[in-house]
């Protein structure tokens, strides 16, 4: 008994002693590291001679900060983390998901519908442009693309590295047909989707027999072929100069967003002229397109074809033994995924008013695939969150001009985009190897709907 008490007393006294010890170690390590890096600096004096500047003060500050940080971490943060994890494991059985977590997607959709209104109220029409366009529309395009690719990669398990090709097909379909023949966006949107789906099938045929790495390489090549054709087929695509003057989307033909037109929205509604109307309209347009993608994906998952896609990801041979035609199943996955890519592409062309092959490089494919993998293959919510983090994160870097105060005038934060991107990716993959949402919602249930843990699902073999 007495022993136990003394033990616990020691236990209480120990964190600070240990923290102090660890702080000293950390201080020594940082001193060793920084003594030459920070303590000494080579410089030129006025006579152009190399001199050694001693900065012991800065070194002391850095070392002291390291020690303090380590002390605080060991003394307070670590015990707090341990306490929390202990409590969590104790209360794991009776954890009830909060209201926000249960209704996350509904709340998110509602929030998205109010987003432009809120931005206009906060920043005014001109100020809201950046938030609606750079953040809202940009992110939603990627959400839609990633949801489209999710059908191919996440559901059917076919690794597609050339998804941007379908995006390009959609964009050029609208750009060419819209600027040459003056056809409306509303006619060309489905046409762009059909065109992209057609190319999806064209890609699908040769790769039917390929799996895994081989499939990835062929799809990668397909993406590059499309881009090179766009660059070199100058008569039609105007080469790398691209196509400009792509017509804007009209409000179902009722109102136009061209200032010179008769039915310009400001004239029709008797409001002040502003470029923000078009952006806000585009925001709602892409939001609806993205929701359409999500809706179709959710419906398809409960259809036999959706189940066959997932079964294909799990085991192709078993699929064939059950009488599923894997050829048409794969082709339908490629076509459906490509169709949504085509929709997003034609929207992209309408929003930019200009397309060039520059927009459809491999990096875009990699970015979309990264969003799908990061979000958790197959999960719509996870993918949307990943798109917000990845695309929103890179956009927000542009806003971080205050970093110039810290790192000097020459610092441009957006150049560190890829570095941060890579770091974020590594951290997420270490922390959650199956993406933000790794578990899978079953498409049908008998007694109760239970999420399938990520450890059972397969990534597919290609």
């Amino acid at each position: 008994m007495a022993e136990a008490i003394s033990m616990s007393r020691e236990e209480i006294g120990r964190p600070f002693a240990r923290a102090f010890r660890e702080a000293i170690y950390a201080g020594l390590v940082s001193l060793g590291l920084f003594v030459l890096l920070i303590g000494l600096k080579t410089d030129q004096n006025i006579h152009n001679e190399l001199i050694l500047v001693q900065r012991w003060g800065v070194l002391a500050i850095i070392v002291a900060l390291t020690m303090a940080g380590r002390f605080l971490f060991v003394a307070f943060v670590q015990p707090a983390i341990e306490r929390r994890s202990a409590e969590k494991s104790r209360a794991a059985a009776k954890v009830e998901k909060g209201f926000v977590r249960r209704n996350f997607s509904t709340l998110a959709i509602i929030a998205l519908f109010f987003y432009p209104v809120l931005m206009v109220l906060l920043f005014g029409f001109q100020g809201s442009l950046k938030w609606v366009d750079n953040f809202g529309i940009q992110i939603l395009i990627y959400v839609m693309l990633a949801w489209g690719l999710n059908i191919v990669v996440g559901l059917a398990g076919l690794l597609d590295l050339g998804y941007v090709a379908f995006y390009a097909v959609g964009a050029y379909s609208y750009a060419l047909l819209g600027s040459q023949f003056g056809w409306s966006f509303w006619v060309l949107l489905p046409m762009a989707g059909i065109m992209a789906a057609f190319w999806g099938v064209i890609l699908g045929f040769p790769v039917l027999r390929l799996r895994g790495d081989y499939l990835a390489i062929v799809t990668l090549a397909f993406g590059e072929i499309i881009r090179l054709v766009l660059i070199n087929w100058r008569d039609v695509t105007n080469g790398s100069a691209g196509i400009s003057g792509i017509p804007k989307v009209s409000f179902f033909g009722l109102m136009s967003f061209n200032v010179s037109d008769e039915n310009y929205i400001a004239k029709v509604l008797n409001i002040a002229q502003s470029g923000a109307y078009y952006k806000i309209f585009l925001f709602y347009l892409i939001l609806l397109l993205a929701l359409l993608t999500a809706f179709v994906t959710i419906r398809l998952r409960r259809m036999p074809v959706g189940r066959a896609w997932e079964a294909l990801r799990e085991d192709e041979i078993a699929c064939r033994s059950l009488g599923i035609n894997t050829t048409t199943t794969k082709l339908s996955a490629f076509a459906t995924g490509a169709m949504f890519g085509g929709f997003a592409g034609s929207f992209f062309a309408a929003r930019q008013g200009f397309v060039s092959p520059e927009s459809f490089v491999f990096l875009e494919s990699a970015m979309i695939l990264a969003i799908v993998v990061l979000g958790g293959m197959g999960s719509l919510t996870g993918i949307a969150v990943a798109a917000v983090v990845m695309i929103g994160g890179t956009e927000i870097l542009r806003e971080m001009q205050f970093l110039k105060v810290v790192f000097g005038e020459g610092f441009t934060p957006e150049l560190y985009r890829m570095l941060l991107f890579g770091c974020a990716m590594v951290i997420v993959m270490l922390w959650k190897p199956r993406g933000f949402v790794g578990s899978r919602e079953p498409s049908a249930f008998l007694h109760e709907r239970k999420a399938v843990s990520a450890s059972f699902t397969k990534e597919g073999h290609g």
Binding site: P304, R307, E314, G323, L446, H447, V452, T457
Partner: protein
């Protein structure tokens, strides 16, 4: 339901089936029949080509030669060797399971059974288009599909685990689920590749019950590969024995069990011991032969006598070259039995090998 003539025809007849992988003859000129409403077992030692036969029947391999004829309940005939694998299940109604279980482990047990009803549901949903728009009978068809899944889950004793991922089930339950999944394709012929492998006796018993239930209640004929003789002898009506890709015996379990060639094939006896086996089994020719003129080198009296010579002589043939089994046509123990019995008696048995 069906006319008498159709019911009397064998559901599956395999004629002169050969499958060669390069120089290796996996199956050589195999012919057998599986009768409707029966459980036909395909047995044989490891590497006898049983799974290859299955892969030929279910279209995963294209046979080098031969015919595989499947006669449907309504009298339709399908030549399975000409059909792609998924069509065999979809149209000829042949379902199969795998030696190494192939479930959709990330999908729930129920979903596994719904995937198996893909073609039916696909038609009901108007090939997705109508179902997506919410028109047509997809809703009802999907409810029916769940009912059917529930029926088979009940049969396989998996009803309470319907919403768990298939990969989470214990091994025996996964085997039963694979059979239930195959049954959800509503097959006329169910091909089971070693369904009892790795099962404990209790699970094995449950499997026997399930298979007998399928045979009696669903009108599905079963073709079965199995190593577990207790399963084979208990439930099968007809047994076909393969060795090195050739049929060595064919008949009811009782007959096959006592066939000397089957015993030789399974026990892997020495050339010189073949006679002993034949004697034990009671091959008339060999007994007659031994009675008339005992073989001095191998007769029981000679080898047991101290006077016969050095001890090494008496055991010489059991540690010599005779134990080295080379995989060639001549390695077949059943053939050796055949050869012996034809050599010893002038009235030779017909050789199987042509």
């Amino acid at each position: 339901m069906a006319t008498g003539t159709n019911m009397n025809k064998p559901i599956l007849s395999v004629e002169h089936l050969s499958m060669k992988f390069g120089g290796l003859v996996a199956i050589g000129d195999l012919s057998f029949e599986a009768r409707r409403g029966e459980i036909t077992a395909l047995i044989g030692p490891n590497g006898a080509g049983k799974t290859t036969v299955f892969n030929c029947i279910t279209g995963f391999y294209k046979p080098t030669e031969g015919l595989i004829r499947m006669t449907g309940r309504d009298g339709n005939e399908f030549l399975l060797e000409r059909m792609p694998d998924f069509r065999i299940t979809a149209h000829a109604k042949v379902a199969r399971t795998f030696q190494n279980i192939r479930l959709f482990s990330g999908m729930t047990v129920l979903e596994n059974l719904l995937v198996a009803q893909h073609n039916k549901l696909m038609r009901a949903s108007g090939f997705t288009v109508l179902g997506l728009l919410g028109i047509g009978g997809y809703h009802k068809a999907s409810a029916d599909a769940i009912d059917m899944a529930r029926y088979w889950l009940d049969k396989a004793e998996l009803l309470d685990r319907a919403d768990d991922p298939a990969g989470d089930l214990p091994y025996g339950a996964q085997r039963r689920l694979e059979i239930a999944r195959a049954m959800c394709t509503e097959p006329e012929l169910l091909c089971l590749d070693e369904p009892a492998a790795g099962l404990n006796p209790r699970e094995s018993l449950a499997l026997n019950t399930l298979l007998n239930d399928i045979k009696e209640n669903s009108g599905t004929s079963i073709l079965l590969i199995e190593h577990d003789m207790s399963v084979v002898m208990q439930i099968s009506d007809h047994v076909v024995v393969l060795e090195y890709g050739r049929k060595i015996s064919d008949g009811n379990p009782e007959k096959v069990k006592n066939d000397p060639r089957v015993i030789a094939a399974y026990l892997g006896v020495d050339d010189e011991e073949v006679e002993e086996v034949l004697t034990v089994v009671g091959d008339e020719h060999v007994i007659h032969e031994l009675d008339g003129e005992p073989d001095p080198a191998h007769g029981p009296s000679a080898s047991s006598s101290m006077m016969a010579g050095p001890v090494s002589d008496t055991i010489g043939h059991s540690n010599g070259d005779g134990e080295l089994v080379r995989v060639s046509g001549e390695a077949s123990k059943a053939l050796q039995v055949d050869k012996r019995s034809t050599d010893k008696s002038s009235s030779g048995k017909g050789k199987r090998r042509t």
